[in-house]
Symmetry: C2
Subunit: 371 residues, 2 copies
């Protein structure tokens, strides 16, 4: 009898995260399921409604603040190593969602991490930062109700990193991040500084803070929650909350979209014909022949086309369900679904590109105004 | 036949440094002997003349700058964990010596290290910093020709530390500093920033820089010289030079003065009767009885009384030699030598205490003016 293959669940923010079983994250890492909270959320986001946000830590605290109209913050960001892609798009939209629910919004350009992890110079990442911020503004982030900053220019996050240095043993760092150079551990301390900065007196002190991220970022959250406890005496920190969205699979069928694999993803700045080509060539959950698919139906659960529609490009929940059912029933074939998806995606991109042009000056101004 | 005991030579800036054989430092660590340079130095310090500075790295570069009247810098500092003692006094006098030879002088208050290594808060170390700077000014440091700063307030050293993060593997850090928490490794990167800051464009760019320190600090120098090489492309750093003074033995005969052992040292702020008591009770190189000492002579080589006179409290070189010879000849007994030494030390302390009072306001101003 063949041995049952051990399911792989690896969470590594600086490596490749592979999740084959989300259930195990609840048991092994203490992530709480999001679904039981859904009915209580006044105005859930599409990621929440569609079960893309599947887990959280202490989100109850945020829910309470939203309902009671109490002060809370949202904090997330981007590593400025390139243009916005579907992953960073999700995070940005989550930040904007919470800003619209009343949160003080913090969006960090993680240029120290880009340097320590990817060896991208600050001069180079500054260019990406401007482009990324233009995307963020075009998506609806309100800079008047939020704070966008580069780590390299924010003294407060550096000083928090220095403070936290005493709270981080080598064993902890190695357990979380593996055996890496010191700069990467320093970037992790800086990131803890990012997450807790909204609670400093400069921003009116301790408050619930939600960090919406991909589940690959959970180790940063666990680390930061531990630091928040250790340094509670000094700053009275409230442990940050988090929500976790699932990781999108690659268009080519690989387990995760990855820069190393250009056919697995596209950016918001990519040429339409390129995006069209990538979607046309994408892997699907289709069968070997049309006949077979008509008879057995497709497998939308493993289909990246189904996924990018559900995650991003189809606004109407009912349309998502309908496409899923039609696929299962063998009524919606892959070619047709791809054609529809290409139309949705190109519409979105054209519309977004148009908007973002109008925000490039403002984005430059925001990046330049960093102290 | 008994096995010959292995001689111990341990250099650890964050632990206890024990040097039983200075010769081995030349062979094993690549420190160069200082003596061959002595005759070429226009105006050698007492530490140089008396062979207390016994080793160096690339001091030739500094010697050339002094002779040619070219720009060079001196950089050293203090960890603000208490009052000036005889060790920090030596370093301060070395910095002042090079300042008088024409160096741009940098004196760092290593408050990040005091926090990471000793858990002394920035509020607490600020008080020590003011006191330490008053001592430095009373000893003759000219703030108009130098830069005194706290690490926690100096953005440039933090930014250099972030830059250097990529150049420091975990293996290197562990080899140099042992298995410690990340904060301590961060402090080491910050210290590398201190040593190379004088070469930034803000201070007119690359220049020879001498770091006069106790030999226990050599690991920081080796680490920083390595970083200077790695990041030469970006900043065109010249590898920093160094001089090494010997470590003073404890008054109680222990191998090193240590805060853990209050009878082994005194501070410049200590009450005269206390200092008098400690010197009176000090270990010496004397014999068991007066008769024996008259006959055999003393052993000044192991005597802390001889040492503090030679290192610090007797200005006249001839008087040092005379005391040494009289001790060897059995003419100068320990009681008499202690009485003379107490007089020298109390004179120095009284004079210094008087001067430093006049510098407390200036010291506060310097510490407060940190950006």
């Amino acid at each position: 009898m063949p041995v049952k293959k051990q399911q792989k669940t690896v969470i590594n923010p600086y490596g490749t995260t592979i999740i084959e079983d989300y259930e195990r994250l609840y048991k092994e890492f203490g992530i709480q399921p999001f679904k039981p909270l859904l009915s209580q959320i006044p105005n859930p986001s599409k990621y929440m409604r569609r079960n893309i946000i599947f887990g959280h830590r202490d989100f109850d605290r945020i829910l309470h603040a939203i309902k009671a109209r109490e002060t809370f913050a949202v904090m997330s960001g981007i590593k400025p190593t390139g243009e916005f892609h579907l992953g960073t798009l999700m995070t940005a939209q989550e930040v904007i969602y919470f800003q619209k629910q009343g949160a003080m919004a913090f969006y960090c350009i993680a240029d120290i991490e880009a340097y320590e992890d990817n060896n991208i110079s600050f001069e180079k990442s500054r260019q990406f930062a401007i482009s990324n911020v233009a995307d963020l503004l075009a998506l609806g982030f309100d800079p008047k109700k939020g704070c966008i900053y580069r780590q390299s220019k924010e003294i407060r996050v550096k000083d928090l990193a220095i403070l936290f240095g005493r709270g981080a043993t080598l064993a902890t760092m190695k357990a979380i991040y593996g055996e890496r150079h010191i700069g990467l551990y320093l970037a992790a301390l800086i990131q803890a500084g990012d997450i807790l900065m909204p609670q400093l007196q400069d921003f009116d002190g301790p408050k619930p803070t939600v960090v919406p991220v991909g589940v690959d970022q959970d180790p940063h959250l666990r680390f930061t929650r531990d630091l928040a406890r250790r340094f509670r005496g000094k700053h009275n920190f409230i442990a940050p909350s988090s929500t976790y969205h699932k990781m999108m699979r690659g268009l080519d069928g690989s387990p995760k979209m990855s820069k190393r694999n250009p056919m697995s993803y596209f950016t918001l700045g990519e040429k339409p014909e390129n995006v069209k080509m990538k979607i046309s060539k994408a892997f699907t959950g289709g069968r070997a022949t049309v006949e077979e698919q008509r008879k057995l139906g497709g497998v939308p659960e493993i289909c990246p086309i189904n996924e990018i529609c559900a995650y991003q490009f189809v606004e109407n929940d009912a349309a998502i369900v309908e496409a899923y059912q039609d696929c299962k029933a063998g009524k919606l074939l892959c070619g047709e679904h791809k054609a529809q998806t290409i139309e949705h995606v190109l519409n979105f991109l054209q519309n977004h590109q148009e908007k973002r042009k109008g925000f490039l000056n403002k984005a430059t101004e925001i990046i330049e105004s960093g102290n």
